[in-house]
């Protein structure tokens, strides 16, 4: 990839960070607190995704 294309990609991603930052701050302060069972309910499906991706990698 040419250097100027790399710079353009980096600028676009950097703008995304600047654009998302206020939203992220708002979400951090306003997100409800999670309990132990809440985390468990997220970690189980995410673990499933990890195992599935590993299966796909071994298949290809």
């Amino acid at each position: 990839m040419d250097m100027w294309m790399k710079v353009l990609y980096a600028v676009m991603l950097g703008m995304m960070v600047l654009f998302l930052w206020p939203r992220a701050k708002h979400m951090i302060t306003n997100s409800p607190k999670a309990t132990g069972s809440d985390w468990k309910s997220v970690l189980i499906p995410l673990l499933g995704v990890v195992l599935f991706v590993m299966l796909l990698i071994s298949m290809v």
Partner: protein, 223 residues
């Protein structure tokens, strides 16, 4: 007695509204995914270069941030959503052509496509059946996404393959979390605009596909 009937009435109205948003979102999502695939096919046939990817990416970001928020509550919003997803699909063309140039490129693309479909359907089914409120994930997912973006910016110049693979693996997990988060927002009434819900879910699917493709291309066997 009258009060009870009113409460039941409101609850059923709310459930109907949620079902309507959910139905419209999934209908719109399937149409945009098909349109996106069509546009990817067009750009593959035309053999457009990586510059097209950059322009399509930039164009879709402009539409996503500056046009969609102003049109999301009107009929014009439908055209904007198709434009965003069409541009992102068109930008995928050069990437897919590059994978097709590999010995097992076709298999990698089909596996990534099928894998993305299975991940999306399984996570959606999980969020829909458990009806859990995943709104607590919002802050963590956004911070995770910003960290990944910063790492991606750094890796554009550093070009470290291990970091690139790590970014892809983390993006797949983050987007899986976003699917749970967005679906639970629709179910619990946090998102009532089906166009915004469609774009959120589309972006999660798109990112899972692109990064799964990257992982399979790099880690899968090439025999």
């Amino acid at each position: 007695m009258y009060q009870n009937e009113r409460v039941i009435g409101r609850a059923s109205e709310s459930a109907l509204a949620t079902n309507k948003v959910l139905r419209n979102t999934y209908t719109m999502l399937s149409m945009t995914l098909l349109f996106s695939a069509l546009m990817a096919g067009v750009s593959m046939t035309l053999h457009v270069g990586h510059m097209a990817n950059l322009i399509a990416f930039g164009g879709s970001i402009v539409l996503l941030w500056f046009v969609l928020p102003r049109t999301a509550n009107s009929a014009a919003g439908v055209a904007v959503v198709f434009a965003i997803t069409g541009l992102l699909g068109f930008g995928l063309g050069p990437v897919l052509n590059a994978y097709l140039g590999m010995a097992n490129g076709g298999q990698i693309i089909m596996t990534a496509l099928g894998g993305t479909g299975v991940i999306f359907m399984a996570l959606s089914a999980y969020a829909l059946t458990t009806k859990r409120d995943f709104s607590f994930l919002g802050g963590m997912l956004m911070v995770g996404f910003i960290v990944v973006l910063l790492a991606a910016v750094a890796n554009i110049f550093m070009n470290i393959p291990a970091l690139s693979l790590t970014i892809s693996a983390v993006v797949i997990l983050l987007m899986s979390g976003f699917i749970l988060f967005d679906t639970s927002r629709i179910i619990n009434g946090g998102e009532t605009n089906y166009l915004l819900a469609t774009v959120s879910l589309y972006l999660s699917i798109y990112n899972i596909f692109v990064h799964l493709l990257h992982l399979l291309g790099a880690l899968g066997g090439d025999d």
